[in-house]
């Protein structure tokens, strides 16, 4: 027993004296609780929706007021035509559109039933389902209220239309997410480890003392991972098309081109990590903690970003995976072209250039 305690005492000493471990042991749970508690929820709040009221009668106004009163939606009222509504969905600005047809109130009074058009962006089927449920419950509530004062039962029928993913397949959401995750993981972690390994064995020293430009050493390490990652992307696409039944609605070439850009972004991130770390373990830790976790949390693929407090939303803008995820969704699922993603592409390009420059500037041509 005494021996056991001796060991325990020693282990405490090791742990308490290792600053890096302490940060992870205490910092990480606190950060996790804060993030999971405040930022991440599968609930869908503050979804941007558009209400087009062509009826402009008492009933439509009342129902709209009720919808407004619920906290779930951020409403933009405007009289959009069908084409404009579709365009708004394409840019991802809105998740749902509710259209009150011209004769909404009239039909309700005369036929005892009326239809309400509800259009949803179903690229995230969970979100779409949740929104449908919300709107249905608000409508049902209102319907019940109306029926208290009416003799004949009135029916308001929401007619839902799911855009982009009519069958509400989950794959639509997670395939792009997995692509972002896999590329990030392989490129960042593997590149970082590979370069740091050379430092650890000592071969990096020999390479430095040679005519070979160090930058070429680094690039030569990136190339195998670039090619492997492209192979990965193609395999994922093949699987998703033929096994998961999720077709690529947009241009495959564009998708591959954007993926290449994202790969390069990830490689430069890996490079930056390797330049600043001296041991493979630390490189791996930073890659996992620093890259994987934020990618999971802030890319928008598991948890909607709109739900997070503003500071975290701003942070999520720095996560390259977030932009890539949007790009992939737009191409694969919404079938859109470059015009819809030029902004995100530009942002990714900017991030890449920034990372690469910082990495190269920090690359040490000497040991210390």
């Amino acid at each position: 027993m005494k021996q056991f305690l001796t060991f325990v005492k020693k282990e405490f000493a090791h742990v308490l004296r290792d600053r890096k471990t302490m940060v992870i042991l205490f910092g990480l749970p606190i950060v996790q609780i804060l993030i999971f508690g405040f930022a991440l929820s599968n609930e869908v709040k503050n979804s941007k929706i558009v209400i087009a009221d062509y009826a402009k009668d008492n009933i439509s106004q009342e129902l709209i007021a009720k919808i407004e009163a619920s906290q779930y939606f951020e409403i933009e009222k405007s009289l959009m035509r069908q084409g404009e509504i579709e365009a708004a969905f394409k840019t991802g600005k809105i998740k749902m559109a509710i259209v009150f047809p011209e004769n909404f109130g009239h039909d309700l009074m005369h036929d005892n039933k009326s239809q309400l058009q509800v259009i949803l962006d179903a690229t995230d089927p969970n979100q779409a389902t949740t929104l449908t449920n919300y709107i249905s419950s608000v409508v049902a509530d209102y319907q019940m209220e109306l029926n208290k004062t009416n003799a004949a039962p009135l029916q308001i029928l929401p007619e839902t239309r799911m855009l982009y993913n009519p069958q509400l397949k989950g794959a639509h959401n997670f395939v792009p997410g997995v692509m972002a995750l896999v590329l990030m993981l392989v490129c960042v972690m593997m590149t970082a480890i590979s370069i740091v390994r050379e430092k650890e064995i000592g071969t990096m020293e020999i390479l430095l003392v040679s005519p070979f430009k160090p930058i070429l050493v680094v690039l030569s390490k990136a190339v195998p991972y670039l090619i492997l990652s492209l192979v990965n992307v193609i395999s994922i696409l093949l699987l998703s098309v033929f096994v998961l039944d999720l077709p690529v609605n947009g241009s495959v070439l564009l998708l591959i081109a954007e993926s290449t850009l994202f790969i390069i972004t990830s490689l430069s991130l890996g490079l930056l990590i390797s330049v600043r770390t001296q041991s493979q373990q630390v490189a791996m830790l930073i890659s996992l903690m620093g890259m994987l976790l934020p990618t999971l949390l802030f890319s928008g693929f598991m948890f909607p970003i709109e739900n997070m407090p503003l500071p975290l939303q701003i942070i999520s803008n720095a996560v390259p995976a977030k932009w890539y995820y949007i790009i992939v969704k737009n191409i694969m699922i919404k079938g859109l072209g470059f015009a819809s993603i030029w902004k995100e592409t530009l942002i990714l390009l900017g991030i890449t250039l920034f990372l690469t420059t910082v990495a190269i500037k920090n690359f040490k041509i000497r040991l210390a």
Binding site: G202, T203, E205, S210, L367
Partner: protein, 305 residues
Amino acid sequence: MQAVTLNNITKTYGKEKTVAVDNVSFTVNKGELFGLIGPDGAGKSSIFRMLTTLLLPDGGTATVDGFDIVKDYKSIRNTVGYMPGKFSLYQDLSIEENLNFFATVFGTTVEENYDLIRDIYVQIEPFKKRRAGKLSGGMKQKLALCCALIHKPTVLFLDEPTTGVDPVSRKEFWEMLKRLKAQDITIVVSTPYMDEATMCDRIALIQNGKILGINTPEDAVKAYDWNLYKIRARKMYNLVRDLNSYQNTLSCYAFGEYLHLSLKQDDARTKADLLHHLDSLGHLDVELAPIEPTIEDCFIKLLKN
């Protein structure tokens, strides 16, 4: 032109500015086999890293092949050969692949300078497809040497190439280095093994970042100005204790089979006194004879000063 020059080179590490290399100066002539002899932590690796431009000195200047180590580092990196400690090779590449790689890195081919490495390479050639990680210490040494030579460097820096290797392989390695000298390559080697010092043209003894002395091995021995004796008796442990408490002892320490002894006052009389003293203490089979000092004796004397 000197192959390597150091002028008041100093290097400190860390916030406390621990001094690893303390005002070191020496020169190496072209074609020389120069040994930097000293224990771990003496500053040998730091000096090598500065000379190969991997570290910047905190004070002083140095040149390699006439190039300044700070300003002209690129030129130095193009022409020197360097093997850091522990034979840094690619463990998962074969002998052949490692050699080809390093040749390419220096913009040459294995064939171009094959004559230079032939004598060494033929010893490992039968195993050329074996992965470097699976080689014995001696073979790794030979491969590392080939890789450092393959581009015909003007100056070769070898940092502790014989550490951790058995005495037989160590001896063979130094034979290889001697043969290389004939090819007019300047070789700077560091080692903690004192006995290897005699294989060098000139040596610098270093401890705690300071140079204790620079000389040819022969001159280092000549500079040893104490009389040195070897002495043994039946009970060595007691002999050491007794000699260390004897008032005429200048220094006495174990040296393999014998003890090495120097006396403060040394004439026929004091020698007789010594033997008499030991006899009175009950020592049997006492053997006393004068000897030539070795480099290790020189090192110990310099350390004690």
